[in-house]
Symmetry: C2
């Protein structure tokens, strides 16, 4: 009889192989059979863990959220970085890097996959809001930020960052970005209740976008 741990390892194996295949061959060009062959399991075993190839992709997206949140957590705990910077850097670090995973990123942004993007957004907001809670509360305590609704402020900034810069809601042209980023930073400052211009240094960091 398989133990729970063996099951988890098997599931993880499927996810890793699938992710690798989605990245190298593309999601559309990867079949469940391709995955089976490499993991060396029977069809039934695959379907014991996942209902479909799409469900595998969904699980990979949740992994991506988790990886991003862990990068953010490391930054949030780094006392060598000024508090306010920690918050902004954590938000940026959380953005999926899709290291070499352009294929998955593309999949996420395809119009037909708005469903996946929504899955990503909801999971990211749930996972990231508590991560930022502590540094934001500390900012308030230290008088660097002033707000009545810290949780909602975090939710709002995360939501805006994603909708504006990760998923191209406004379809801005390349040359519009500097102004849009400046406006975003200005709005974040106002919502956080920091001094004016406190976040303007992040314009550079956003420089690599989109």
């Amino acid at each position: 009889m398989k133990t729970v741990k063996e099951g988890e390892i098997r599931r993880r194996e499927i996810l890793d192989v699938a992710r690798e295949l989605f990245v190298t061959k593309g999601y559309d060009h990867t079949s469940v059979n391709d995955i089976l062959k490499i993991v060396d399991i029977a069809k039934g075993t695959f379907y014991y863990y996942f209902a479909s190839k799409e469900e595998v992709l969904e699980a990979i997206i949740l992994d991506i959220v988790e990886e991003g949140a862990r990068r953010a957590e490391i930054i949030v705990k780094d006392q060598s970085i000024p508090l306010l910077n920690r918050i902004m850097m954590a938000i940026m670090a959380q953005t999926p890097e899709f290291e070499g995973s352009e294929e998955i990123k593309e999949e996420l942004h395809k119009v037909e996959n708005a469903k996946l993007e929504r899955l990503y957004l909801k999971a990211m907001l749930k996972r990231m809001t508590p991560v930022l809670q502590e540094p934001v509360l500390e900012c308030i305590k230290e008088g660097i930020a002033h707000m009545e609704y810290p949780t909602e402020c975090i939710e709002t900034i995360l939501l805006l960052g994603h909708m504006m810069f990760d998923c191209d809601t406004f379809e801005w042209k390349m040359e519009e970005y500097p102004q849009k980023i400046q406006a975003f930073l200005c709005h974040a400052e106002r919502m956080l209740g920091t001094k004016e211009g406190e976040l303007s240094g992040f314009l550079q960091m956003f420089g690599q976008m989109p």
Copy 2:
């Protein structure tokens, strides 16, 4: 030979009948044939105007955006309403009413139709931002609001309003709404640079939500 105008009338006829059917029978239970029968046209005529039933739904969604924007435009021009109120009321009036169109609303919010929701959002942002431009600039001129990025401020408030209250991104519980609405109004005030509490009166108006 048909004139352009006749074509437009025929197209509109298809849209009106389809909308009526989607509302009464439901989108899933309406076939292209059902539409053909009532409009009394051949299949070929339908496919001359629309590639699919889904394309009809997309056109209906754009109609809904247009209807909302027109309601907003009327409010924006109403000099009897205080300026700041005009802005908030216009944003609220724009929210699709789906008069009797619960079916279309449901269709828009189904997980599988995230694509339609995104279509709605992008079209709404494009159509509504210019509508709010004038009253916002007037607020600045009159010293009621203070901001450096009026266009981006409007974009942000429209985006937040939609994501938070029209499409349930955060899956808030009923009892969380009052606080979430208060936070939203507080953030809108800060971004617009109004006096604190200037928008708090709108908590009541949001009362009917979600």
